[in-house]
């Protein structure tokens, strides 16, 4: 299936969880948040939340700014 991760199309195995997709872009244990199709997915729910074909996942962290 094809999933848009931080604006880039990626080929991922069917049934991948949010946790698995996040792990492809960062290994940070904290300071990271994810939104699936513009809805925040709590970190405690990353394992149990499945990503579907054509979903958009945003994975954000804090950077210098403001």
């Amino acid at each position: 299936m094809k999933v848009i991760v931080n604006g880039e199309a990626r080929e991922l195995p069917e049934g991948a969880s949010v946790a698995e997709v996040v792990a492809t872009v960062t290994t940070a244990a904290s300071g990271v948040a994810a939104a699936l199709n513009d809805e925040v997915v709590r970190r405690s729910e990353w394992d149990a939340t499945t990503v579907r074909d054509a979903d958009r996942l945003e994975v954000l962290t804090a950077v210098q700014g403001g």
Binding site: A28, A33, T61
Partner: protein, 270 residues
């Protein structure tokens, strides 16, 4: 510049700044954008004495090395996520929710800009986003135009602090409408924090002399020729301006008023 009382709501018995129930000893809130390196940023933040500092939320960069969060943690500084770069209420609300999840804080510097050229706040989207975030339990610190009506509206809908700009972000033009800042301060019951546009120490002192409860700045320090020295200057300027405000300045007058007595002068024959 004379005659108005200090905004008592923002001062507790120890004279500390209180935002949404959190107390801060420093009245200088720093930003982190524009610092040439993490090391300079660390030294500048330390020199500023700040206890609250902003970060932006962006897509994870797998190649990034060193995190601004590590710097803030090492310095013992509380993190204030912002919604910089958001053009709509929807974008800002989602960014704030992601920041709350990533950084485990209810604090947010709400920033909804109208265009990339001026970076001025879009008041309509700002009010919409503020309402949603207040309803959702955030401690909202709203970055706004220097408009007394809008500032009051933001306070009334539940913002914990209102942050009028001095001039456009990063411009270094200082406080272009001191009268409006005074009007905002006079009518406020939440902390008023001068945010954006400050260029040098006298700008920060003026903000505090006008009655602001704190100052938020980044570029003036991070892009100064010596960020660490400017950070120290800003720390002293905020403290000096605060003290001057509390002391109560003399009224301005058109002509001189002698500071030495006229009595007892020895008059020659001329």
């Amino acid at each position: 510049m004379s005659g108005t009382a200090v905004n008592e709501s923002a001062v507790n018995e120890s004279g500390r700044l209180v935002i949404g129930g959190k107390e801060f000893g420093s009245r200088l809130i720093m930003g982190t954008g524009g610092a040439p390196s993490m090391q300079v940023l660390r030294e500048a933040l330390t020199a500023s004495g700040t206890e609250l500092t902003t970060v932006a939320m962006r897509r994870v960069d797998p190649a990034a090395r060193g995190s601004v969060l590590d710097v803030l943690r090492e310095c013992g500084i509380e993190v204030l996520p912002n919604t910089a770069g958001c053009f709509t209420a929807g974008e800002a609300v989602l960014t704030a929710k992601l920041a709350r999840e990533a950084l485990e804080t209810d604090l947010v510097k709400l920033e909804v800009i109208a265009d990339e050229h001026t970076l001025l706040p879009d008041p309509i989207e700002l009010v919409e986003a503020a309402e949603q975030l207040v309803d959702d339990g955030f401690t909202v610190m709203a970055y706004t135009n220097d408009d007394p009506v809008l500032a009051r509206r933001l306070e009334q809908l539940g913002c914990a602090a209102v942050m009028p700009l001095g001039s456009p972000i990063g411009s270094g033009l200082g406080i272009r409408n001191p009268h409006n800042i005074e009007l905002i301060v006079e009518r406020a019951n939440v902390p008023i924090i001068l945010d954006a546009g400050l260029g040098t120490a006298s700008d920060a002192a003026l903000a505090m002399e006008l009655g602001c409860d704190a100052v938020l700045l980044a570029t003036a320090v991070t892009r100064a020729q010596s960020p660490v020295t400017m950070a120290a200057a800003m720390r002293h300027a905020v403290e000096a301006g605060r003290l001057a405000r509390l002391a109560g300045r003399i009224p301005m007058r058109r002509y001189a008023q002698a500071s030495s007595p006229w009595e007892g002068m020895s008059r020659g024959r001329g």
